[in-house]
Symmetry: C2
Subunit: 326 residues, 2 copies
Amino acid sequence: MNIYDIAKEAGVSIATVSRVLNGSENVRDLTRQKVEKVLKKYNYVPSAIARGLMTNSMKTIGIVTIDIRNLYYANVAHTIEQALRIIGFNSILCNTGYDIEQKIGYLRMLTEKKVDSVILVGSTFRDPLLDKPVLEISKQIPVIIVNAYYGYPNTYSIQCDDRKALEKFVEYLAHRGRRNFLYLYDADTFSGNLKLEGFQKAASKHGNIAGIHLIRSGIDEAANKTKELLRSGILFDAVLTSEDLTAIGVLQGLRENGIAVPEQVSVVGYNNSILSLCCHPLLSTVDSRMEDMGKLAVKVLHQVLSGERAENSIKIAPQLIFRQTT
Amino acid sequence: MNIYDIAKEAGVSIATVSRVLNGSENVRDLTRQKVEKVLKKYNYVPSAIARGLMTNSMKTIGIVTIDIRNLYYANVAHTIEQALRIIGFNSILCNTGYDIEQKIGYLRMLTEKKVDSVILVGSTFRDPLLDKPVLEISKQIPVIIVNAYYGYPNTYSIQCDDRKALEKFVEYLAHRGRRNFLYLYDADTFSGNLKLEGFQKAASKHGNIAGIHLIRSGIDEAANKTKELLRSGILFDAVLTSEDLTAIGVLQGLRENGIAVPEQVSVVGYNNSILSLCCHPLLSTVDSRMEDMGKLAVKVLHQVLSGERAENSIKIAPQLIFRQTT
DNA sequence: CTGTTAGCGCATTCAG
DNA sequence: CTGAATGCGCTAACAG
């Protein structure tokens, strides 16, 4: 069933059918009704593919991220998908994992499918090996990157000021009498480095750096590292992390050693995920405002696709969340 | 830049270009090289839209679920997306929320975009109001439903035996001396009812039903309900739930009242999410094997799309996970 | 092994 | 306000 069948049965031309399908004004009411009757009769659904071939757009955008199982990415992806739907776009979801070839493969697929834009979620997409593919794509369609920055034309970036978040939390803890700051992180990325810099700057200014350790992501990894550090006799009274999950591992490591939180040691997570509300004591953390970033990403995209001017780089302020671990 | 431009520059016909693009055998090596050279020169990417118009397939399927921020759905969606990619399909992600109109709207969009199939994730998609839309779609393309069942032709269902999970857990707890069973759940759905039935049957057989309560989803809601029940003097020594998050709320409610887990009360979650590893004590729960369900969904889909016969209904066995709360 | 031709289903001129 | 004609970029016969 296509537009020809409808036209024939309604006794009009395909142009007219197309017009009523697209809500054009220039159709006599009587004609419109004739067509709509047939449309309804067959419950006709036009083919977005054929339309796409003409308009060169499928009203679809690609959301590219590492792994949707990560709460952080899930949140942003969800927000983006919902905001896009409202402005008439659907989302192709791409979980690339950390493999660069996969990332490139997904990018290629998205250009084949002629998406109207690509939204990269996560600072791991700021990678020298991706520079060329991203540059190429950005020549065709706008590229939005959440939590990192590309300097190319037609790329737009939304970031949270991660550096400041760490700085301010260290500062806060120093005011509360903490002196020996430990930092555990699990990602050596663009935004990971910003956090690290913030920690280093503030910790050395307001106290001492008791240690900085890059560990694998996961509760057990963080718990083990904590226990190892405890055994080695390192002194610390505050632990900051790049992710809630890591902080929860720290909590468990401390508990096993009978160390009271926050009395003896303060612990701080990152992302303000639901996890931070599941542990005990409730985790102090940083709200990196992923929902706001997602919404901004779509807002910028909408502006760009509408031909309006849009900010090339937006930075929003994180929010410190004080709960029971500080 | 299209197939004509390539053909002209390579000095061949568009059919030949199409052949090398699709890896056809029937091309002389020399010819192939000529074409490939031009392809590379312009970094040519064929249009999936145009191809789709001919083949009537965009190699895309729709993943329809409530909300990807829910860990359970995120897991299944991720697994499905990955498995699909391997067999050459991409995924349009649809977060419908609970609104029925939205669900229908997404379904309509997916048929417009001519997806090759739709995978419904979650038993909330077994809804009388969706019967007709699902029936209509299933006449066009296969519909897979995870965690529920539709009896229509060309629909396929993957389920976890939720009823048995609850039965077995109650039984286990009874063996360990528990007698007064409480059940808190947050979803009045197809699978929700199965869990409930399992609980009722086993609890009344092996002990007493101390209460069954439908509450809103969330930690606080569960914690408040727990405290309310405690105040009201209801006696119970085991709490089962339909979701880890609810169980964690119960844990917090009990803690506030100084009730020891598992010494005085056992608590059981559902889904074996990462949340169950974040709380203290570590939560006993049910692994509903969403990864396996996701993989099975794609396996069945692959069979169907390949014209093979596939099981219309598959049920897999859940696994009880014993940690510290039982 | 290669080229010609004919659509796929729609949007979009351009006439009338 | 409506219709005829054209083409989007590709695949799939069908000839040769």
